[in-house]
């Protein structure tokens, strides 16, 4: 790629061109991902709540997001009278920019990265943590007490969750000895037992802690205290409407994908499928291999995003004090222990034992996942006609025919 | 991790050093948690108000592992093939490492390219540093390896013994009758048992001592040195409710501080003059190399004294030259480069003195440049180092703390005051032996001799079982110092080792007696205990025989070597013959007071029936260490043939790490010593037999009255019983004047109404008046200046910024 552009453009300009193309691609990726993620969110929530979800616009309601977008753009763009106009308008862009910048260092395959940074993991953490500014400023600038509460909560929550999240990132970094995400992927190639999540019990636990903190820092339910429509109406979003409102959603879905991508690199083998040996670009050529890598990486990202959606519609929202307690009294000490544990493991445990443990962990996890999937597809034992399943089984209700 | 440790065998020593620290940290943390969690289940789990045994077991386990590592690694070290081939680089690579703890950049910023080349050829070669760097490092040689094994083994046994001895401390409430005796206002004193605290400090102590042994630089030694002193303070003051104990702890601490001040001065001199604190590098810098590329040097491995050439030609380069052969020695000491610019071809000093043109010292020192320091400063450095050792090893005149330190629990006395802490001083003299000027060595020898003699005389009349042992320790330490001072390096350190074993045995035996007699320490109330405490009596007899110098016991070997060295020195320098007479006298006295102790305690008829009736043998956990130590006391110095003192295996091992210049510098002394060694052995044996005979006559079946009889004032015995009036002397010379000055100064501060009449008059007329005037002046000045202080932060910052701007402006103007 760089060679191609350097042939047709003089020295500084080919770099500018590459930068512009990368930015465009990333913007497109975020847009399209959000487009489908919103559809998926509505579909999944519908199915979980025993509804159908969107069906009307396009096949399976796939174009629903487009219809929403058109509606949002055509809405009136207004701000409250007391609001700090400039900050009120500015906040959504800030939030979106932060989430967009996170993708700069995220590779999509071998060599498919906008900026190859040696400190990519650290950089992503840093940039994603500044998304909170948009939220706080939005909350403050709206001149509404609900918004301000939302912003304050967000500030407290994000600053607190940043600590265990960063420590959980350090856990696989201890194993890999690098902060470069491409290097992470390179170290996890081959079978899925090479993935860092299965490296030892501590990284295994760290993956889950990281996922919880990542969910919290994307302010997804059950940690969406900044919006909390039942208490704060809609928190920092109260006064927003139209296209600015949708920017916040772009930012939220963008950062969901970004943290999922980070988790995939840190724990789940990056762009490696876990079944095929070696580096696909080596034996398939650059283009075919990269397509395979991109596909595998996106599939893993989508898996994690779907889990986040699943969690959102399954778990009740926590109270703000519970959120803070979870972080400071449980996740923080746990992540400290994990960090110490993984350091000791690296120092003390011989390679052979480590290999056996990681194989055992990998096989057990795969077996467990498989078992869960099988149980999902097993037909439920049908209850007798007219009676209700679950907790209502055997009880008389107004619905049961006498 | 295991690979990392095994890659360099010396690293195991670091592990063994850190294990006691780990135990310390564990105990400290659990103690902290217990304190923080009062009233919760955690508190109950951690033992509640009753101390748990587990902590002691953890410490024991840590120490036992350390001892295992210490002993096995000693074997590995002795079997290292590099000793035979004299492969120093290989030895250094396997048994030493260092890292920067803090570094202020080097004197020259980059190592010269020569070193890079040399390192490419030999990767193990360390780039020498003259940088101002505080380092952490370890270096194992025969001395530290052997001492490490000794300290860990003795430490383990003492920890084991303490588990039995300190049993009372495991109760939730302990009654301390001593407190009631010493402070009349307190009745029925109760406190919580301090079982854990004891082992906490014990393990920290072991860590510091081991760290001191493996350290390769003076700074690290100094840190451990202070830690050792601190632990000793805590342990001596273990029963800190007793005024006597807290007084003794303070005394030990302050006496040691006096010595440490000297040590610190020595470190500062070394830092500024030599640019390094690493002992090996200091040696390299101070002593001439053995040979240069032209052949062996006249001044091989000696201090080279030079004169500053006059007139000074160039400001940035100073020239020094060797004085003529028969002229006065020079005023400066030459400091040699840490490495030669060209390793294959360089000039040392003094190869051909007629053609030698001396050397140049540049303004900025590098690894490869010569240096020079005033000779008196070098002597001061040696004296400072030795002053530190004087404090720690309880030499005259700082010896008074050691007998008072017997206020601590007996195992502590055994650990600190026999095996380890006091050994540190002797060890340091041995380790830094190459850094001492001949004048300093003479001071060391005389200090040791006088200490030895004085302490032995005091021990003759002491009646407290532990104090006899304490003075005996002081005396034996003096003997070691004497040996080192007269060049008997191996002899002194061998005696340090053997003494550690039998003195630990004697102290633990005394502890067993005290434990069996329910904390009765007075020899006059004992007697006839041999029947009741068979094991203790027998093992103590072994210790007594060893210290008295009975043939084939370990003490015999070391003592004979010391006396040989002393005689060799005395005959070579007849003006110093006292250095041989004094130890011979002391040998007789040692035998006398040790047998006196044993006879009084174990032989004869019981003198106090109350004590005798309740006496009992100690449990196995206390007698087992005694038996093991007794075995060591007999055989630790054996070699083959058994009757040849010179063939002790341990002495041979130590001889490996003896400074290499000893045989050349002390050639004549050694020859004389070897020539007369049979005579020395005979004399020593005779002296010991004399001491034993006198003790047997007087104390085997002593008359009751004689033992109990009070010592009359005015007799020599009273003089001895008052410990040569050292405490009184210090009291009169230091303490009283200080207190008087303090009172005098205090009188200034008294208000007219509270002071005495004289103070009032003095005060009102002079000082108070001045002070009030001063106060008024300050007040009025403050009143007028107060307006500047607006209390506004921003105006302050404004002024600050203005000042900065003004200073910058001045700088700019000045520059142009």
């Amino acid at each position: 790629m760089p060679e191609f552009w350097s042939q047709i453009l003089p020295h500084p300009w080919h770099l500018v061109a590459i930068g512009l193309i990368a930015a465009g691609l990333l913007f497109g990726f975020i847009g399209i991902s959000t487009f489908f993620a919103i559809w998926a969110e509505r579909k999944v929530s519908g199915r979980i709540q025993d509804r159908l979800g969107p069906t009307r616009v396009g096949p399976y309601g796939l174009l629903q997001s487009l219809a929403d977008g058109i509606k949002l753009i055509s809405k009136e763009d207004f701000a409250p009278t007391d609001a700090d106009r400039f900050l009120f308008r500015f906040a959504p862009y800030l939030a979106f920019c932060a989430s967009f910048c996170g993708f700069l260092a995220l590779p999509f395959g071998a060599g498919l990265v906008a900026v190859e940074l040696d400190v990519a993991a650290f950089f992503m953490l840093a940039v994603l943590s500044s998304e909170v500014f948009g939220i706080i400023l939005a909350g403050w600038a709206s001149a509404s007490k609900w918004s301000l509460f939302g912003g304050l909560r967000e500030a407290a929550q994000v600053v607190s969750y940043e600590v265990p999240r960063a420590m959980c990132v350090v856990v696989p970094v201890c194993v890999a000895g690098t902060l470069s995400l491409s290097e992470f992927a390179r170290q996890q190639q081959g079978g899925f037992w090479n993935w860092f999540v299965f490296h030892d019990p501590f990284t295994f636990a760290a993956f889950f802690v990281f996922f919880i903190t990542a969910t919290a820092s994307c302010k997804r339910a059950p940690f969406d205290l900044a919006e909390a429509e039942s208490e704060l109406v809609a928190g920092f979003l109260v006064e927003y409407s139209g296209i600015r409102w949708s920017y916040f959603f772009l930012a939220e879905y963008g950062s969901m994908f970004a943290v999922s991508g980070l988790a995939v690199y840190l724990f789940l083998g990056g762009w490696h499928s876990g079944v095929l040996p070696g580096e696909p670009t080596d034996w398939l050529g650059f283009w075919a291999g990269s397509f395979l890598n991109l596909g595998v990486f996106l599939a893993k990202c989508w898996m994690l995003v779907l889990v986040m959606i699943w969690l959102r519609w399954s778990l009740p929202r926590l109270r703000i004090d519970q959120v803070m307690t979870t972080c400071l009294r449980y996740l923080l000490p746990i992540s400290c222990v994990l960090l110490i544990g993984v350091s000791l493991w690296q120092l003390l445990v011989p390679r052979s034992i480590g290999f056996v443990v990681s194989c055992a962990l990998a096989v057990a996890s795969v077996a467990f996942t498989f078992g869960v999937i099988v149980s999902l597809f097993r037909l439920p034992t049908s209850s007798p006609r007219g009676s209700l399943p679950g907790v209502w089984a055997g009880r008389s209700t107004p619905l049961t025919p006498r | 991790m295991l690979d990392f440790l095994l890659a360099v065998p010396g690293r195991l020593y670091v592990v063994a050093t850190l294990l006691p620290l780990l135990a310390f940290t564990l105990l400290l943390l659990t103690g902290l948690m217990r304190r923080l969690s009062v009233g919760t289940p955690l508190h109950r789990i951690l033992g509640g108000e009753q101390p748990r045994l587990l902590g002691a077991l953890i410490v024991l386990a840590a120490m036992a592992s350390s001892a295992t590592i210490g002993v096995t690694n000693l074997q590995r070290f002795l079997a290292d093939p590099a000793h035979a081939t004299h492969d120093d680089a290989g030895l250094a690579a396997r048994w030493s490492e260092r890292m920067d703890w803090f570094r202020l950049g080097s004197l020259d910023t980059d190592p010269p390219p020569v070193f890079e080349k040399q390192r490419q050829e030999n990767p193990h070669r360390k780039v020498p540093r003259t940088a101002l760097a505080l380092e952490l490092g370890y270096r194992i040689d025969h001395l530290s390896a052997v001492l490490f094994a000794m300290v860990t083994v003795v430490g383990t046994l003492i920890v084991m013994f303490s588990i039995g001895y300190m049993k009372d401390e495991r109760n939730a409430a302990v009654e301390d009758h001593e407190v009631e005796k010493q402070t009349p206002t307190v009745h029925r004193f109760h406190r919580r048992g301090r079982f854990g605290r004891f082992f906490l400090f014990l393990s920290l102590f072991c860590f510091s001592m081991l760290n001191l042994l493996i350290a390769d630089n003076l700074f690290q030694i100094f840190v451990s040195w202070e830690l050792v002193g601190l632990c000793s303070f805590f342990l001596i003051g273990f029963y800190y409710e007793r005024p006597s104990a807290s007084y003794a702890a303070n005394k030990a601490f302050i006496m040691n501080r006096i010595g440490d001040a000297g040590f610190l001065v020595a470190i500062m001199i070394a830092w500024t003059s030599l640019g390094t604190l690493n002992i090996e590098e200091m040696k390299h810098r101070l002593r001439s190399p053995a040979a240069d590329s032209h052949g062996k040097l006249d001044l091989a491995e000696q201090f080279v004294r030079v004169n500053l050439e006059d007139p000074i030609v160039d400001d940035s380069v100073k020239r020094y030259s060797l004085p003529a052969v028969d002229a006065e020695p020079g005023t400066h000491l030459a400091l040699f480069p840490l490495a030669w610019e060209e390793a294959d071809h360089f000039h040392g000093l003094g190869y051909k003195r007629s053609q030698d043109h001396g050397f140049e010292v540049p303004d900025v020192l590098t690894f490869t440049s010569y240096g020079a320091m005033p000779y008196w400063l070098f002597v001061a450095m040696g004296l400072g180092l030795f002053l530190g050792c004087v404090g720690k090893s309880a030499q005259m005149p700082l010896h008074t703390w050691l007998p008072d330190a017997m206020e601590g629990p007996t195992p502590v006395s055994a650990l600190i005051h026999a095996a380890t802490m006091v050994a540190a001083g002797v060890y340091l003299v041995g380790r830094c032996f190459a850094l001492f000027a001949p004048e300093v060595l003479l001071v060391i020898a005389y200090t040791g001799a006088v200490t030895m003699f004085v302490a032995a005389t005091i021990a003759l009349v002491m009646t407290d079982i532990k104090r006899v042992l304490a003075y005996s320790t002081v005396s034996q330490l003096g003997l070691m110092m004497l040996a080192l001072g007269v060049g008997g390096w191996v002899a002194g350190l061998l005696h340090l080792l053997t003494h550690a074993f039998f003195k630990a045995l004697l102290f633990l035996g005394a502890g067993s007696v005290i434990h069996g007699c329910h904390h009765e320490q007075d020899l006059r109330k004992m007697g006839g205990l041999a029947k009741k405490m068979r094991t203790t009596a027998l093992t103590m007899l072994v210790g007594v025989l060893a210290i008295a110098g009975t043939p084939f016991f370990s003490g015999w070997y070391s003592k004979d070597l010391v006396l040989q060295a002393a005689l060799g020195f005395g005959l070579t320098h007849p003006q110093h013959i006292a250095l041989f007479i004094l130890p011979l006298l002391t040998a007789a006295m040692t035998a006398f007071y040790m047998f006196r102790l044993w006879f009084l305690a174990f032989a004869g008829a019981p003198r106090d029936h109350h004590v005798h009736d309740h006496a009992h043998e100690s449990p196995l956990i206390m007698t087992l260490p005694l038996v093991i130590l007794a075995a060591f006391s007999i055989g630790v110095a054996w070699g083959w043939p058994l009757w040849e003192v010179d063939h002790s295996l341990l002495a041979h091992a130590l001889n490996h790490s003896a400074p290499s210049f000893l045989p050349t510098v002390y050639a004549h002394e050694y020859e004389t010593a070897h020539h007369y060694h049979l005579a020395v052995g005979g004399a020593a044996l005779l002296a010991a037999a004399l001491g034993f005979g006198l003790a047997a006559i007087k104390y085997w079946k002593p008359r009751r009255a004689m033992v109990l009889g009070d010592i009359k004032p005015g007799t020599p015995a009273n003089f001895l019983a008052k410990k040569w009036y050292f405490d009184e002397l210090y009291d009169a010379v230091v303490l009283k004047p200080t207190v008087a000055i303090a009172r005098f100064a205090g009188a200034f501060d008294k208000r007219p109404t509270e002071g005495t009449l004289a103070a009032r008059r003095y005060d009102a007329a002079t000082l108070d008046g001045w002070l009030n005037g001063l106060g008024d002046a300050t007040l009025s000045a403050g009143r007028s200046l107060r307006r500047l202080q607006t209390g506004r932060l921003r105006s302050y910052i404004l002024v600050l910024a203005l000042t900065t701007a003004a200073m910058l402006a001045i700088l700019t103007v000045l520059k142009t």
């Binding site: 770099l15 650290f122 950089f123 840093a126 500044s130 500014f133 | 780039v127 921003r794 900065t804």
Partner: protein, 179 residues
């Protein structure tokens, strides 16, 4: 005009203008937003200088930590949404003059320093050498920072405890007062 010149010009003007914004803006929240851009600009300059780790550290500590704390503090202490403490005109004059003089002097002090050109590789030593330096395992001739590192760690611990204590002391008293 090379690319680095252009990038520096953009970043420097962003940084400088937003620094001016911090000084001049009347509303404290606006000042915080300006400060955000200053910090971002400085962090980008670090990236431009090749100090990637520092740039990221600046982002996570300053932007993600310190500045959020500052805004948090503003929100806790603001009496109304637009409360601002106005600076008097006289102070503006004095401050401005002082700033101008100081800037002139500093630039004058900078002038004699030669305009050094970058030496060596494009990026500065990264995470590895930094960490090794902190652990005291320095290369030959380099400097070890184990002791400063330890001091900073202890300092942080003390600050953590101190800040927690300071922040909770009052609340404690008030509950006592209420009780």
């Amino acid at each position: 005009m090379t690319l680095s010149h252009a990038l520096f010009a953009i970043l420097a003007s962003v940084t400088a203008i937003s620094a001016l914004g911090v000084v001049l803006s009347g509303s404290i929240v606006r000042a915080a937003v300006w400060l955000l851009f200053t910090l971002l600009g400085v962090s980008m300059l670090y990236f431009l200088l090749g100090a990637e780790f520092l740039g990221a550290a600046q982002l996570i500590v300053y932007v993600g930590g310190t500045l959020v704390l500052v805004i948090f503090g503003i929100m806790l202490t603001a009496q109304g949404p637009f409360s601002s403490l106005k600076t008097r005109p006289m102070e503006w004059v004095v401050g401005g003059a002082l700033g101008a003089v100081l800037f002139a002097l500093l630039v004058n002090a900078v002038r004699p320093i030669p305009d050094l050109q970058p030496g060596g590789a494009g990026t500065l030593p990264g995470t590895g050498p930094l960490g090794m330096g902190f652990l005291g395992i320095a290369n030959n001739g380099a400097v070890a920072y184990l002791l400063p590192f330890e001091i900073v760690s202890v300092h942080l611990l003390v600050v953590l405890i101190g800040a927690a204590y300071l922040a909770r002391a009052k609340r404690h008293q008030r509950t006592e007062g209420e009780a």
